[in-house]
Each structure stands twice: as C-alpha cells, then as structure tokens.
Symmetry: C2
Subunit: 152 residues, 2 copies
C-alpha cells in the first residue's frame, strides 16, 4: 500500500490566516494537526496539533508552568480570546524547518517512521510537482495497518 | 473550568503490555496517545501517539529515511507484525522523564501550556495521591475552549 492510496483531503491554512481560525478549523475538522500551504498550494510546514495550540498560548506561559498557575480560572478559560489578529505566520518562525511530507509512492513504513521521527500525527502527501495531494493522519495509518495485519 | 471537570476515562497500559496491544488499544479507542500506569494505577509516563507508533518502528528505520525507502511495499505493509512479544517497557527507556500530568484543579491554560511544551496531545489528570483520575485529549480541550469563547 502506498501513501497516495490512503491520503485524504484535509482543509489547510496559510501564514495569513489568523491563529483563531486555525484552532477553530482544527477543532471542527477533528484533525490532529494542520498543513500550512503557500500561495501555490504547496506544503510549507506541517504543524502537529500541540504546536497549533502552542500558537495560542502566550509565550511566557509556554515555558513556565508556575507562571501559568498564577492565572485565575476565569481568565485562564479565555486565554485564547487574547489572540486578536495574530496570524499563523506571526507565530511560525521556529516551525518552518522541513514539512513532514512524503511522495505518493511512499510505503506505510516510511509514513510511520516519519511520523515517529518528526513527532507529527499528520503527514502531507505531495505529488511530483510538490503540490499537496492529501494527508495521512496517525489514526488513518493505524487503521490501515490494523486491516493489513488483523491478527496483531 | 478545571482539569478534573473535563477529564474523561481512558484505557491505559503498563510496561508489561505488548507493543502490539498498545497500538491496537490506541487505534480502537481513537486516542491521540496512551497513559502508561504503574502497578498502583499511577501514571508513569504519557506517550503521545507518534511515540506509541515509534515503539513499533524498528530503530534503524526511525532515524534513516533512506533505509526505510529500501523496504519493498509488501514488507513495509507488515512491519509491525515483526513486533513479536516486545513490550512497552522494552521500548520505553528514553520516554520515562516526567509524565504529562496535572492536578484536578489545573486550569485550561495550564493544560494547554503543558500540551504545547511536552508536545503531548494527551494529558493525565491525577488526584491528590498521584492516582490516575482521568485524561484530557487535545480534541476535548479545543472543544471546551471553543464553547467558552464561541465567537473566536
């Protein structure tokens, strides 16, 4: 089985989209992450869900658990209302390394190894021109592997 | 809103469980990760889904994408059949640092910051004795945050 055969369509975001839109899109689509595409629809990066969430957590609370604990419950419930017009691009600097992507003919082992290595439960599948063909989620990969080896 | 109010029951594994069982459990429960508990039901570690998957990917393929590419499709489909009797404990050494866990009274901001920091879409919620009370998934957290701030 090849990546192109199990890839599915997923909604994407661009660096111009607001962080709030990205979070809402991920929640509504029940996706474990988001693919950030450029103007030509090619994956620029693939963000694991926790790192989409990170875009919404004010920097000072990300690294300092004690500081996060000082915020009272009522304000803590609404932390992401403070996002305002912050965009995905504003928050993305550290994540722009290499997108977690594979070609159409990648094997399921290659997809699994990439997910494990990049700690990304979402992998972009690109065609020969680098355009986004689809995506594979960890859940979908596990489902396919379970079907192929039903006795495991 | 506090962690104890949105935590849900999830199945857990121990270090004695087979990796095959852990993968199956995660696939069937549609969980984004697994909590590994000790003999007294206290979280030893929380494994993000990609790191449960990593337990099943032979070490040499994890780091070397070119090597994974040399395996033909038929064999790549079945890589996790080779797990045999390997247990979660056999594979866990590097992951035993600190479990991604919070107390019952942690705020949603604390949960979000922990998920982002530890790159874990699953967080264990523990009671005053360190026992496992429940778990919060990234999907559940996003759902609750969206309800609290419906206009974002």
């Amino acid at each position: 089985m090849q990546a192109g055969q199990i890839a599915v369509d997923v909604p994407t975001v661009t660096v111009q989209d607001s962080v709030a839109r990205a979070l809402r899109l991920m929640a509504l689509s029940r996706l474990p992450g988001l693919i950030v595409v450029d103007g030509r629809g090619r994956p620029r990066t693939v963000l694991p869900g926790t790192q989409v969430l990170r875009l919404a957590v004010p920097g000072s609370y990300q690294e300092d658990a004690a500081l996060a604990r000082t915020i009272d419950e009522a304000h803590a419930d609404l932390f992401w209302e403070e996002l305002g017009s912050l965009t995905v691009g504003d928050c993305l600097v550290r994540e722009m390394a290499r997108p977690a992507s594979v070609g159409l003919d990648a094997t399921l082992l290659e997809v699994a190894a990439l997910m494990a290595r990049q700690r990304s439960p979402l992998v972009a599948v690109v065609d020969g021109t680098g355009g986004l063909f689809g995506a594979i989620t960890l859940e979908r990969l596990l489902g396919k592997l379970a079907l192929l080896a039903p006795d495991v």
